[in-house]
């Protein structure tokens, strides 16, 4: 049953991106930056976890979840290790996603050719 919530909230979050595109004509880089910052803010104010509780993938799959894990990692590491944690925690928590994206992009860029020109 929670799949319905995942679908509805995930859809709404993504639609918000489309609203931004229609009314402000912003580029995809700005959209992604905006949503990452939203995620960081939601986590910083402790709003992310209550939403994540019932929205699950609906809020974690959008890039908001990426921002939230950055902030969560930084906050957790600061509490555990002090000031150095602010620098290490964020990337530690998100390293998997970034590393995967870079690795696969590199491999597939070597394999595939650009489709737009043909």
């Amino acid at each position: 049953m929670y799949y319905l919530w995942v679908f509805l909230i995930g859809g709404l979050v993504c639609m918000l991106g489309q609203v931004l595109i229609i009314y402000t004509n912003i580029t995809s880089a700005r959209i992604l930056v905006t949503f990452v910052l939203i995620g960081v803010l939601l986590e910083a104010f402790g709003i992310f976890d209550p939403i994540s509780e019932f929205a699950k993938a609906g809020i974690n799959v959008p890039i908001i979840g990426f921002g939230a894990s950055l902030a969560k990692g930084a906050i957790g590491a600061v509490r555990a290790r002090g000031i150095v944690g602010a620098f290490t925690g964020g990337l530690e928590a998100t390293a998997g996603g970034i590393a995967a994206a870079v690795l696969f992009a590199f491999i597939f860029a070597l394999i595939f050719k650009s489709k737009t020109k043909s």
């Binding site: 995930g10 979050v13 992604l32 910083a44 998100t94 970034i98 860029a109």
Partner: protein, 148 residues
């Protein structure tokens, strides 16, 4: 005077050429595709939890995101993700799959400029600002939490 006129004509030309997205269908499409991508993510996560019940929730999410990133990167490579993107707009940009697409797509497109200056440099044209914004803001949040 001549120049002013020419600029105006050019601006009108650009305005006429910019593809117009009709708001309502595109909002619905982005809702639909975004919702589906998130639902697929939930499905992958639930399957992982089912097959490996001992896994911590955080770790399972890590695997889920890596799998989503892989799928999106592959679909970008074979040219399918761009087609989804044309249909879905924001629905394909906002999920983590859009982040993956934004790295793979320029990497493939600028491959002809070489491995270093093409693939390695260009893959961060969109992801770069995202990572910078994320790192800087998360460090600020961490430092703020240090004092409260």
């Amino acid at each position: 005077m001549e120049e002013k006129k020419r600029n105006e004509a050019y601006n009108n030309y650009v305005k006429a050429k910019i593809p117009k997205t009709r708001p309502w269908p595109s909002l619905f499409n982005s809702f639909l595709v975004g919702g589906i991508i998130c639902t697929i993510g939930q499905g992958i996560n639930d399957l992982i939890m089912l097959w490996f019940p001992n896994l911590a929730e955080q770790t399972a999410w890590g695997y889920t995101l890596v799998i989503l990133v892989f799928i999106a990167s592959f679909l970008t490579g074979i040219g399918v993700y761009d087609k989804i993107g044309k249909f879905a707009g924001g629905g394909s940009i906002v999920p983590i799959t859009g982040f993956s697409n934004s790295i793979t797509s320029p990497a493939i497109e600028f491959k002809h400029e070489g491995i270093i200056y093409g693939i390695c440099v260009k893959m961060f044209t969109i992801a770069g600002p995202v990572i910078v914004a994320g790192i800087v803001s998360s460090i600020i949040v961490g430092l703020v939490y240090l004092f409260i």
